[in-house]
Amino acid sequence: MSDRVKIIVDGREVTSPSGELLIKAAEENGTYIPRFCWHSRMKPVGMCRMCLVEVEGPRGKVLVTSCTTPVVEGMIVHTRSDVVKKAQEGVLEFLLINHPLDCPVCDKGGECPLQDQTLAHGPGESRFVEEKRHFEKPIPISDLVLLDRERCILCARCTRFSDEISGDPLIEFIDRGNHTQINTFPDEPFSSYFSGNTVQICPVGALTATPYRFKARPWDLEAVESTCPHCSVGCRVSVHASQNQVVRLIGVDVDATNQGWLCDKGRFGFEYLRSPERLSSPLLRGDDGEFHEVGWAEALDAVATRLRSVIAEKGPASVAGLGGARSTNEEAYAFAKLLRGVIGTGNLDASLGDDPGVGLLVGTNARATIDDLERAKTILVWGPDLKEELPVLYLRVRRAATALGTTLIVVHPRATGLDRDATHTVRYRPGVGAALLRRLAAGEGDLAEVRAALDQGPVVAIIGRTGLAESADLAEAVAAFARGLPEARLLPVARRGNVFGALDMGMSPHLLPGRVAADDATARSTLAAAWGAGVAAPGRDASGILAGMANGSIGAVLLLGSDPLADHPDQKVATEAFAAVSPPVGGRPFLVSLDIFRNRSNEGADVILPVDTFTEVEGTVTNLEGRAQKTNRLVPGVGASRPTVEVLEDLAIRLGGSVGSSAAAIAKEIAAVAPAYAAVSWDALDWGTGRDGIVAAGGSFAHTPTATGKDPAIGDLTLHLGRVLYDKGTVVTAGPSLAMLAPSAAAHLHPEDAARLGFSAGDRVTVTGNAGSAAMPVVLDPTLAKGTVYIPFNTGATIGNGLDVKVERA
């Protein structure tokens, strides 16, 4: 490349991109310069002074910090001269004089850069004989993070992360000189969704997080690299376990997805794995109507017997399967194969009616990758509040807007996490989206500037449902508009961990494995040949299955990690469906649940089968870009729980078929029969370029988004049912660290609406929707579009997802 420059490092000529920081240029050429404050994903500050080197200049050699010095042609650098060594050792000594000698009880001990540097270069004895600087030992700066100011070496990594990367500048330096310390602002805790990253990048043990404190020593940890399961971003993680218990997750720096960062739900959301509530034995409902712990053979025999009788009585099309979005691809594939090929039903869905349509999610052409955000000129986000639903995607969009100068347009019913960094924000009331889109497309009035910005390509459009009360048709319409923008790439988003992978594996009435249309008869017969079994014709989706449960046309339902009562946005339909099963009475649908917890939906099940989950099974998962990544096993499951794949195979055998003998075998079968996954193999993902995953591509399923152009008729107040990161979901409620962070339900109103209706902040109101009423307090939110009632989804209030709502004094 022409803009590479030659520099001389310790007498050795090397080349580096012009303008690269010296510390990085040297490292890439094999010379490691010690550092504490420098971090490759953040702006340099040159504060710790550990990376001092000598650079030859017109007035002789000058000491400079290599983290703040860009390389120029011909630069002569000395990183190991006597002057440099003395300066660096001096800095190390300065850092140590007030640093406590509590390494034996410090969580960082054994993996501490300061300890490592001291061991390598430090003096054996201290020349500092005075009393060290003292602060109150660790003070909680949030519900999750503690700060030990005695250990802190004031490198500003945590403050820079919070300010530059996450946009939550809640911690700062206070006081000065020898009294300088990090702290929060008075009465404002460090309540950031990303606080755990500061713990990870702290070069000493100053910041620790409650879930890991005193749990293990680094040298006792077993580790495996894996993929975070909690949302569809698919962050790369390193999972650490001690004595067969997962004790922490660390973000792994890959360019493609998370660049080292994690959200706190991803990082700390592992405690549910060892919750005492975890299912540890198959449960079979006895004649007394109660669950009884039974052996696997008895449970599976019971399931097979009942399924055979339902099939005999009502036909295979009366059986249905829901789930797979929390499973691995191999598990979802096995589940789909069991349903379509062994049982012979086309009623199956991994999506629960809360996502954009399967066409948009799987069949979009010119699908964007997350990394396309780095090259975009304009980013349009018309979908969920990314900070709440897909937090690390929020970080990537925020980086584009704040560090790369990208124009960012956010369209949402209220201020989202991104609004502060957005170039343009547009607010609208749920129910008028189609009209807004028409005005935006035409560049009418105050939208002229936004429209003009959208003409600057390349455009990346992140499209999803802003909330669960809004029709999925709107996302279709937005996609139809956005695909016509210059050099447009679309990133349709849905939240649930492996929903994209499960759909890709054919867990949809519309899809066969590998992004092939289920109504493609040729493809079905090809697949049937590979399976040596019939492939059922397309059947019902999730809403159709739930309706069938209510009206008796569905006779048996298998749930794979699925809790429709909690997750299906149309709570009216879900409630009616499960009212038919619970309490158990004769003639009701037979219900089987493969899960890790009891939940509202499987309360009425006939059989509950405990399965292994994240960190307990090996497999692949697919993120919202269609990127397949490896997830790995580190610890055993709980009690008698078994891998899903084995459970499904044992069931298949009892029904006279087979889904595959192991996850590894199924992975090979997927590569053989699923066109988009031909290049995806465990070997490729585990080794070589595998760290970035493989973007699955190909498959004949294509979808052209279309706009209905119609808005529904709406009344005075419409509902915005948006998700929040911490809700009443299992991952949050089954782990003590996160459970306390979940907010309780509240009715957010624009102050003008509240005044018009005669409510003040804190008033108790009853909100009535299409599936019920709930009482909650009023919260005033001036960023909310007028005419909107915002209720965070799954925070304890169930009123349905109809747009029209009533708010009355409770």
């Binding site: 504060m47 002074r49 003395k86 000594e93 300065f94 004031l154 006081d175 000065r176 000189g177 020898n178």
Partner: protein, 428 residues
């Protein structure tokens, strides 16, 4: 030859030199009218020709600095009135007793460098200076010397008086810019220099109060006339703050080139009680100390530099024979340790460490190894212990804490050794 430029009005009219009425009555703002008849580049040329050097400490040629200003807009002028160097109190006099002279200099300078917004950053402990300066600014707005279309020239200038919050480090120009922006007062890494990316990342000139106060005179009388005053390299007059063991401490506007003997024993009236001179600091607390063998050397910027120190901010602190130099050095080190911003490890930790070593020496608890330790810790802040200092820090505050230690080590090693119980063999 003129020997007073800055202090004539305040001496002649001590009661009201700070008012606009007195200022105008004594020829004030005439230079501004003249400036508006000139092209901005002609004013810059006059300032260059005057060889005016900055009075804040570094002594950089003002006209040359103005020439570095990047062409983009907006651009800013910031007047550094954060006078905090121990022993320095000259700017305070200019701010409180002749603020319009500074203000006229600001308007002319801003016009010359095409700036429409200027800030005067005043030390937090100078509320009276800030009141006087604000009063002058208010008067100037009312009289049409500030604001839009000043004196019909079409030139617009707004001036904001900003009171600091009591941090010495904000006198460092980039820390001052951070402070003005509402951030912590911490020096920035240079480059970029303020002239390229300063206040709000825009091109910015930072000049000292005394520097800018000279500008009206230069415009009125021409750069050549200014360049005719004083010795080469130290043109014009200079306001020195004389303090310590002298009979007549105070601010003195002098033409440089006189000997230290004339300054201390002539102008300063000598040492009280007829005691002997022990040493003095020639240019503020950061400057290496002088001892009587250089008494007959001339007081000029270049001669002070030649002898291994600096004229700095013009603070001359005199110490007589009764002075305990270790305590004096401790006093200075304690000041710098207290004022360290805390950014750079060597300064934050090292300055406090030096302070604690000196504290145990002055309390009789020194150790035989302490001289070595003092020197080595100092060396880790300011490698090589040379002058001008090399540094392991972003700004020179760290090395400033080293300066008194190297001075007493060089001149008074025996006195330190005498304070330490036991036999001291090292420390050379």
């Amino acid at each position: 030859m003129t020997d007073r430029i800055l202090t004539t009005r305040m001496e002649a009219h001590p009661a009201d030199a700070h008012t606009i009425a007195r200022y105008e009555a004594t020829g004030g703002y005439a230079a501004l009218r003249k400036a508006f008849g000139m092209k901005p580049e002609e004013i810059v040329a006059e300032v260059k020709a005057s060889n005016l050097r900055g009075r804040g400490g570094a002594g950089f040629p003002t006209g040359v600095k103005w020439g570095f200003l990047a062409p983009s807009t907006p651009r800013y002028l910031v007047v550094n009135a954060d006078e905090s160097e121990p022993g320095t109190f000259k700017d305070r006099q200019l701010l409180e007793r002749d603020p319009h002279q500074l203000l006229e200099g600001i308007v002319i300078s801003a016009f010359a460098i095409a700036v429409n917004r200027a800030f005067v950053y005043i030390r937090g402990e100078y509320p009276r200076s800030a009141r006087r300066m604000q009063q002058a600014v208010d008067e100037a707005y009312a009289a049409g010397y500030l604001g839009k279309d000043i004196l019909g020239s079409g030139f617009t200038l707004d001036v904001t008086v900003h009171l600091g919050a009591g941090a010495y480090i904000c006198g460092e120009e980039t820390a001052m810019l951070n402070s003005l922006e509402g951030k912590r007062g911490e020096p920035r890494i240079k480059p970029p220099f303020p002239a390229v990316a300063g206040l709000y990342a825009k091109p910015t000139i930072v000049n000292n109060v005394e520097t800018i106060s000279n500008v009206p005179w230069i415009v009125s009388n021409g750069g050549a006339a200014y360049n005719a005053i004083g010795p080469e390299g130290s043109r014009g007059t200079r306001l020195l703050s004389l303090s310590g063991h002298v009979v007549k401490p105070g601010n003195y506007e002098i033409v440089m080139g006189m000997s230290w003997r004339d300054l201390i024993f002539g102008i300063g009236g000598g040492i009280p009680g007829g005691k002997a001179l022990k040493c003095w600091i020639p240019g503020g607390a950061s400057a290496p100390w002088f001892t009587p063998e250089v008494l007959d050397e001339p007081v000029t910027l270049d001669d002070i530099a030649r002898l291994g120190s600096m004229a700095g901010s013009g603070a001359v602190v005199v110490m007589d024979e009764t002075t305990n130099v270790v305590e004096a050095a401790l006093s200075i080190v304690r000041f710098f340790a207290h004022e360290s911003c805390g950014q750079c490890t060597p300064c934050r930790e090292g300055a406090s460490w030096l302070q604690r070593i000196l504290e145990r020496i002055v309390t009789g608890q020194g150790r035989p190894s302490d001289l070595d330790l003092l020197l080595d810790v100092s060396d880790n802040i300011s490698p090589g212990l040379r002058w001008p200092p090399a540094m392991t820090t972003i700004c020179p505050l760290g090395p400033s804490a080293v300066s008194p230690i190297t001075s007493i080590m060089k001149h008074f090693r025996d006195e330190i050794v005498a304070m330490i119980p036991g036999e001291v063999t090292a420390g050379v």
